[in-house]
């Protein structure tokens, strides 16, 4: 029995948590799921993903500001022109829990597996078409190159006296053109090279879905959260 979680199961669990974050309307199951998964996520990924947790805490400041400005309800506290209404507090808690649930999906998934293993597992065990796994694998490889390209375009824009971060639609147009131009050239040649190496003729190896102890634990977590959802 494997002692590592299956990447496909982790991916499905991440999707399950994200759907819960959108779908749960009552606060009790939301609190339960958010606290349970955030605890697991923090145990697994606190050291490695500190920057994400810091960004999440910063985003809560934005949620609080929006809640104070937009939410209605009875005024419960007033400090000069600042009025805090009842729905601002409940709204802040609710949205924070939803965001926490989403972050916990990332922490759990990224701590226990990586995109390459996921694609291999999705293709061989769950029958994802090889065309999709090829496209996503290639995208992940190209991503770092495009990030470097973006920095290069920014440097050129700076030397020409333009904004390094485009703020208007026309700015975005001039920002995207060189990136897409070079990207398409790369894409065409990568496609030709892959075809010359017999990509279309390659057969995907199908294997049975291998489940380990951790996978059964994940299925138990899903079951528990569904039961809690049904109880409320």
């Amino acid at each position: 029995m494997r002692n590592k979680a299956n990447p496909s199961v982790l991916f499905l669990y991440g999707l399950f948590l994200t759907i819960l974050a959108f779908a749960l309307r009552k606060i009790e199951p939301l609190i339960f799921s958010a606290l349970l998964n955030m605890s697991i996520g923090l145990i697994l990924g606190f050291k490695r993903f500190r920057f994400l947790i810091a960004a999440f805490l910063l985003s809560l400041v934005g949620v609080a500001v929006n809640a104070i400005i937009f939410a209605g309800g009875e005024p419960i506290y007033q400090l000069g022109p600042l009025i805090i209404r009842s729905k601002a507090i409940t709204g802040f808690i609710e949205v924070s829990l939803r965001l926490a649930l989403m972050l916990s999906a990332t922490l759990i998934f990224s701590s226990l597996t990586n995109p390459r293993d996921l694609l291999r597992s999705l293709e061989s065990e769950l029958g994802l078409p090889k065309q999709v796994s090829f496209t996503v694998s290639l995208s992940l490889r190209l991503l770092r190159i495009f990030e470097a390209d973006i920095r290069e375009v920014q440097a050129v824009r700076k030397s020409r006296g333009l904004r390094t971060i485009p703020l208007t639609p026309s700015g975005w147009s001039s920002f995207l053109s060189p990136l897409l131009s070079i990207g398409l050239e790369r894409g065409r040649w990568i496609g030709i090279a892959a075809e010359l190496r017999g990509f279309s003729l390659r057969k995907s190896k199908k294997t049975c879905l291998k489940l380990g102890l951790l996978d059964f634990l994940i299925f138990t977590l899903i079951l528990v959260q569904i039961i809690v959802f049904l109880m409320f």
């Binding site: 994400l52 929006n66 937009f70 709204g91 990332t106 496209t135 995208s139 992940l140 485009p166 703020l167």
Partner: protein, 172 residues
């Protein structure tokens, strides 16, 4: 319906997905900068359409059925596989945005891939996008705010959809 994608088409889809995976992550900086200066409505008007661009761009480049939904969804999948706060929500948003863009091209029976279709394919994804925002943020924003945001997001999407078309036509 059989999708006849060559390996070069798949590689071009990968380019669109990677480019927008990087752009989506990068676009948060101008979004927050504009939000701090002009508030959320201005930020929505000037930046939301960026997140709807992958679909019209992929469709204009490939001109094939399924290219809009694949372009947007794959970009969302790439973004969601990079550790970030939103987690897998990027994939869910991208799938529905891509689906709505695809519907625009499907209504025209995949005969027209011009500027008008690209603008519409950029505007229509605002519907699922704001609907998902309601599920997520409904307890903070009142309904009238969402109506304003929807209109602004559609305008933004139409502008960026047309930009996607013009950039794609320029570099093809």
């Amino acid at each position: 319906m059989k999708l006849n994608y060559t390996t070069v088409d798949l590689a071009i889809l990968a380019v669109v997905a990677a480019l927008f995976g990087a752009i989506f992550a990068f676009a948060w900086t101008p979004y927050y900068a504009i939000k701090a200066i002009g508030g959320k409505p201005v930020a929505v008007l000037l930046t939301y359409g960026i997140w709807y661009m992958a679909a019209p761009l992929a469709a204009t480049l490939l001109k094939k059925p399924g290219s809009a939904i694949l372009g947007e969804t794959l970009a969302g999948l790439v973004e969601s596989l990079i550790p970030q706060i939103g987690g897998f929500s990027s994939l869910i948003y991208a799938f529905f945005q891509g689906l709505f863009s695809e519907i625009v091209y499907a209504i025209g029976k995949y005969k027209n891939f011009g500027g008008l279709q690209a603008a519409l394919a950029g505007a229509v994804p605002a519907l699922p996008s704001i609907l998902l925002d309601i599920f997520l943020w409904g307890s903070v924003y009142p309904p009238e705010v969402f109506v304003i945001l929807l209109v602004l997001a559609m305008i933004s999407g139409a502008i960026y959809g047309f930009i996607a078309y013009s950039v794609a036509e320029r570099v093809r």
